[in-house]
Every structure is written in C-alpha cells, then in structure tokens.
C-alpha cells in the first residue's frame, strides 16, 4: 500500500511540476475569467452601459379628444422618451434626419383600429418591437376606457389561467419546457465533458506508461513495485491531477464571477443546474475514467516507444467518440429504444445513462442495475488490463494489439 501512494505522489508531482501543466492551467484560468467578464469588457469598449434614452417624435393624427401622443409622452415605464410633436410630418422627418430625434412615429385612425408607422434608421429590430408594445399598451388603455370597463373588470380579463401538469403514474415527473431546456444544455455540456476528460486522461495515462517503457526505467520500477500496484498508482495519480484541473477551472469560475459582479454562478446554481445531476456526472466521470483509463494503461504498456501511443489508443478514442455521437443524437430522442439498450453497454453507459437520467425519468432500480454493471465491468477490465500490463512492461518490439496481448499473457502467465 505504501508503494501505491509513493507511485501516486510521484505521478502527480511529475505532472503538476511540468511546464505544460503550469501553462495550460494558466491559460484556462485567464480564458475562463476573461469569458465571464467578456460582456463587461465589451461594453466598456463600446460604452453602451449607460446609453441615453432615445427620443421618439410622435405625430398624433387620431381623432381622439385626449391625445394619444400626450399619453405616450407621459408613459414612464417605457425605455424611450416620447414627445408629442406638433409640427407636420415633413418637419418631423427633417429634424429626425438632423438627429434631433432617433425615431418618428405617426399615429392615425380610431384607437380600435390604430394605424402606426415608425420611421427610423437604427438597425436594431428590438427598438421597433418595444415601441410597438408601448403603443399597444396605450391603445388598450384607450379602448377599455371607451368600453367603460372598470379596473376590476380589466383585472378579470387579464387574470392568468391556473395551469398545471400531472404525471400519468404516481411518482413520475412531468417535464416543463423550461426544465427541458435546462436539462438539455446541462446534459449536453456534461456529456461533452465526460467525452473530453476520458480522451484527455486516457491518452495521458497511455503516454505516461509508454514514456517509462521507452526510457527503460520501467524494468527497474517493476523490480521494486508490483506492476499492478504501479498501474493503479498511475491511474489514481493522473486522476487526481485531473481533479486538480477541474479545481483550477472552478477556481477560475469563482474568481471570474467575483470580478464581473454579475453573480452568474449563483444564478446557475439556483436555477439551471441540478445538484443531483452534477453528482451523477461526477460519478460517471470517475467510473468512465477507470474503465477507459485501465484500457489506456494496458495499451500504453504494449507499445515500446512513446510515438506509438497515438496509434495504440486510437480504437479507444473511436469508442469514446461513438458514445459521444450517440449521446448527441440521443439528446433529441432520449426515450428511443436504442438509447435505452445502448446505455447498458459499459463503454456507452457514462454518457448515455447520464443522458437518460438528465432528460427522462429512469426508474431507480434501473440506474442501480446499470451502475453495478458498469462498476463490475470496470473491475474486470482492469483485472485483464493489469495482467496484460504486467507482461507488457517487459516486452519490446513491433506494436500490434492482438499479438502484443497474446505475448503479454504468455509472459505474465501465473504458473502453478
């Protein structure tokens, strides 16, 4: 056990102290903090933060006694400054061209059939929408007035319907559109994270093993430590480095949040992110890491030179990629039978079961069953990997997965 931790510590310090780790962490840190403050940084350049209220010249040509233009001008909730213009349309347009006004709005006809035209050069379509809403609001006021409705009657009309959804079976959940969207993006992000972490750390492990082999230090090491202890020491060591990476990312997010002062994180955690989903993601990342990592270590032990690592772990990366693409497809059809079936296959479980938990409601017994299957296969695959690893580290020559594994088995054969 002692040698296990010495190996873990050695693997970690070697990684953490490397220049590449330092720089990649620093870049992540700066990138995340920068992105989180991007809005603030951009607005400080364009100066949009405190832009002045745009003014709108209103030409009221309606036949009402009470001017709608006046009503608009005194409408304070709007983000525009309306002004009841008393001149002609030509004069108004001319002064707008001289930038005295941002927009010119003409109103004609009865309030019930109001005809409004907006002249403006600004390209932002939202301005038009907002002005339209303001006019609509004033029009509603005028019309209800004409119909002699009192406040209470108005309130009755606008009172919202009490609308709720109930599941067909007891205990099941009904997903609202909002929840669906939140889950969609969160699952998307985490499926991608699982994919990325598995590939990144899988190849890190394989490279680590192959480097020790190609520098021939391996034989010396395995004369002191059981290769199996060493393999798991490496897996755990690199796993911890991975967690450290995530911690740097989290730290960056918090620092970025503090600097920007937007409380994005608080918002995310209270609304968009379900903590239980995050915990599932963590569980699947860990299990997926051990499943893929064990195989990566085995493949790393089969090559003789560090340059052959990429070739060796290609099949593993393909499997991870296939799982990822199935998961992306599954995001739009999480109830599909194929997703259901594939989520039982250990190599696809981390991404697909996570997808199902996030997007649909999966019975608890099924979650437990699939996780047990995944855990058992991770253990079995690691036992197999350890056997191949034990023989593989003593083996040098041309790389071939099939022959290599056969040879490794012969070498590590337990006699008696």
């Amino acid at each position: 056990m002692n040698n296990f931790w010495i190996t873990v510590a050695h693997t970690m310090t070697k990684r953490v102290r490397s220049k590449s780790f330092f720089w990649s962490s620093l870049v992540t840190l700066i990138l995340v903090i920068g992105l989180m403050n991007a809005a603030g940084v951009l607005s400080s350049f364009s100066g949009e933060e405190d832009r002045e209220q745009q003014n709108v010249a209103v030409l009221d040509n309606t036949s009402e006694e009470e001017s709608m233009g006046e009503a608009l001008a005194s409408y304070e909730e709007s983000s525009f400054a309306y002004e009841n213009y008393s001149g002609t349309e030509e004069e108004a347009l001319a002064s707008a061209e001289e930038e005295e006004y941002a927009f010119v709005l003409t109103l004609a006809g009865e309030p019930a059939e109001l005809d409004a035209v907006l002249y403006g050069s600004e390209s932002d379509f939202q301005d038009g929408q907002e002005i339209n809403q303001d006019v609509q609001r004033i029009k509603e006021g005028f019309v209800t007035n004409e119909l002699n409705l009192d406040e209470q009657q108005l309130a009755t009309i606008y009172a919202p319907v009490s609308f709720s959804e109930q599941p067909l079976t007891e205990g099941a959940e009904v997903q609202t559109e909002e929840a669906h969207n939140q889950a969609y993006w969160m699952v998307y992000a985490l499926v991608f994270a699982i994919y990325l972490l598995v590939i990144m750390f899988g190849s890190m492990i394989a490279t680590e093993v192959a480097t020790e082999k190609s520098s021939r230090v391996m034989e010396l090491i395995v004369s002191s430590v059981n290769p199996i202890t060493q393999m798991f020491g490496k897996l755990v060591g690199i796993g911890i480095v991975g967690l450290l990476n995530v911690a740097v990312l989290a730290a960056a997010a918090f620092i970025g949040d503090a600097i920007s002062g937007d409380n994005i994180l608080e918002g995310l955690f209270s609304e968009a992110i379900e903590v239980s989903l995050l915990l599932y993601a963590l569980l699947f990342i860990v299990l997926g890491y051990f499943l893929y990592g064990g195989i990566a270590a085995m493949l790393g032990a089969l090559v003789s030179r560090a340059e052959e690592v990429n070739q060796a772990i290609q099949p593993l990366i393909y499997v991870a990629m296939i799982a990822f693409f199935i998961a992306i497809f599954g995001l739009n059809a999480p109830d599909a039978t194929i997703i259901h079936i594939l989520s039982y296959i250990p190599f696809f479980t981390p991404q697909l079961l996570f997808l199902r938990i996030g997007m649909t409601s999966v019975p608890t017994w099924e979650i437990i069953l699939i996780i047990v299957i995944l855990t058992i296969s991770a253990v079995l695959i690691n036992m197999l990997a350890a056997r191949v690893y034990k023989g593989g580290v003593l083996m040098y020559g041309k790389f071939s997965i099939k022959n290599g594994m056969k040879q490794a088995f012969t070498i590590s054969k337990k006699e008696k």
Partner: protein, 300 residues
C-alpha cells in the same frame, strides 16, 4: 541466506527460454553468469526478481521465494539501462529508494556519499539527460545499491564503460561484496568474470553447459594452450596429432591441444627444428572455454 535456484524452467509458448537450471549462491559470494545473447541470463534474473513466474522449479532466497514484500532485500541493475531523463539525479534516487522502503532523510546523505565515491558530487541536481552514458550508468548503479541490498543482481554492469570507469565500478562492487552482500552478475567480458567470480554458470540456449568453481572448471577443462615463440614458421606443428588448431602471431604461435600429454610430442618436434625463446603450457582462458562451449563468437 543463500540463493537457491532449483531445476528452474521457463517456457514462453513454444519457446524454451530456460531449461532445468539449478544453482546455489552462498551468502557473500560473487557468482558469474555467462552466456551469449539470448542464452537465458536475463530471463533467469527476472525469475529471481519475481518479475516472471518459473514454468517449473523454484527460486528461493533464504529459504523463501522472493516476492514484492521483500524487494527491499534486492538490488537490480538491468541490462537495458534506463532512468527518468527529465528528473534530476536526486529526485529519481529519492523516488526509487522510497519504493525500496527507505526514508527520504537517509537517502540524500547516502546518495551524496556515493556520488563522492564516483567522483561526481556535482551531479546531484543535474538532470539525467544532461549526463554522459557512462555517468548515467554510475547513477544506475547507485540506484541498485544505495539501499544496501542483501542480494545484488548486476546484468552486464561493465558494458559500455571506459577502462577508468570500469575499474571504479569494479572496486565498488568488490567493496559491497566485502560488506556481506551476495552478488550475481552476468557479463560478456570474460576478463571481469575471471577476475571477480569464484563460481559461475555458463548458459547456452537456456541450459547450463558448464557450472561450478572457476579453478576446477579450468583444471578439468582438457584443452590447453601452448604458447611458442620462435623465429621460424611453426605451421608444421599442425601435423602433430592432438593439435586442434594453431594461430600464428608476430612472435610465434598459440596452439590449442587436446590435453596436456600432447605437449611432449610438440616439444620434441620443435627441438628438432631449432631454438625457441619461449615454450609454455597454459591453463585455458575463460574466453576460450566460452567460445568452445557457447559455440558462438561473443561481442567484446
């Protein structure tokens, strides 16, 4: 505390790497393992270390098989040298020795002492990749002995070293032996084995072709050498029955004869011919025995 290898066999599939080898190495002795490339030396070492499981037979140290629980008793210098190129001498020695169960505080002073012995104290904080091959080998040797193992296995310890460093390493090995360490080492260089080992085994394609005490082996080995120095052509001596071969050199010739009794007719033929400056019957060198028994040229 003896190393006992009892009728050990190792088969890789259809390939017989080691075949029925038995040997005993007494505590504190120096044991030589000879053999051409592929004779099974490294496989035997790996079985002693527990890296490989013997197909049959057993390897025991002090009556018990060596396992990972007892690796701190063994020091190993592999034939293929290798250390972490990016780590400094100190860093890797600390890591490797901690794996052997040593405390960091006792590793550093011992390392400094060894670097002093090898006259390279300035390498303590240098990266391995900055050192020359020969100096890397010194560090590799330190990694095998720093933890004061009971059993030291040296696979080709002197290959690739210049004469000065070879002597330095030889003295270090002898010093360690004097302290009671049992040493097994393999070498292509017969001269080193001849100088250092009391007992040896010679392997050929996995089995022992020669085994025992060095002096006994030489004595019982029938073939002798006769060195003759004369100023005339000695080729006529080939006609004497019992002469296996004759090699002319600038001073005369060296003859290999079947046994010591052949020396007499050879001497008579020379006496008929004329004056010789030297006539000597010698014990065969290990080199000759090796070539004879192993049947192939070795690289020296």
């Amino acid at each position: 505390m003896t190393l006992v290898i009892d009728n050990v066999t190792k088969r890789f599939g259809s390939h017989q790497a080691v075949d029925g080898v038995s040997l005993t190495v007494e505590k504190g002795s120096m044991f030589g393992m000879l053999g051409a490339n592929g004779a099974g030396k490294t496989t035997t070492f790996r079985m002693i270390l527990g890296l490989l499981d013997p197909t049959s037979g057993s390897v025991t140290w002090d009556g018990r098989p060596l396992s990972y629980k007892r690796t701190s008793l063994i020091g190993y210098l592999p034939e293929e040298r290798g250390l972490y190129p990016k780590l400094t001498v100190k860093e890797q020695i600390i890591y490797l020795m901690r794996l052997k169960g040593m405390k960091k505080t006792s590793i550093v002073p011992a390392l400094q002492e060894w670097l002093e012995t090898f006259q390279v104290p300035e390498y303590e904080n240098k990266k391995i990749e900055e050192l020359s091959k020969g100096n890397q080998q010194k560090i590799q040797f330190i990694a095998a002995v720093l933890h004061k193992p009971e059993l030291l296995i040296l696979d080709e310890p002197f290959s690739g070293l210049d004469p000065v460093n070879t002597d330095m390493l030889k003295q270090a090995v002898e010093h360690i032996q004097k302290q009671g360490t049992t040493i097994v080492f393999s070498s292509h260089q017969m001269k080193n084995v001849e100088e250092m080992c009391e007992d040896l085994i010679m392997l050929k394609r996995g089995s022992a072709v020669l085994q025992g005490n060095l002096r006994d082996i030489k004595r019982s080995y029938g073939v002798k050498n006769i060195t003759v120095q004369a100023d005339y052509n000695l080729n006529f001596l080939q006609e004497v029955s019992g002469v296996l071969d004759l090699q002319q050199n600038k001073d005369g010739a060296v003859l290999r004869v079947k046994d010591e009794t052949i020396a007499e007719p050879v001497f008579q033929r020379i006496a008929e011919k004329g004056f010789v400056r030297k006539f000597e019957v010698e014990q065969p060198s290990l080199h000759d025995i090796f070539i004879d028994k192993a049947g192939v040229e070795h690289d020296e």
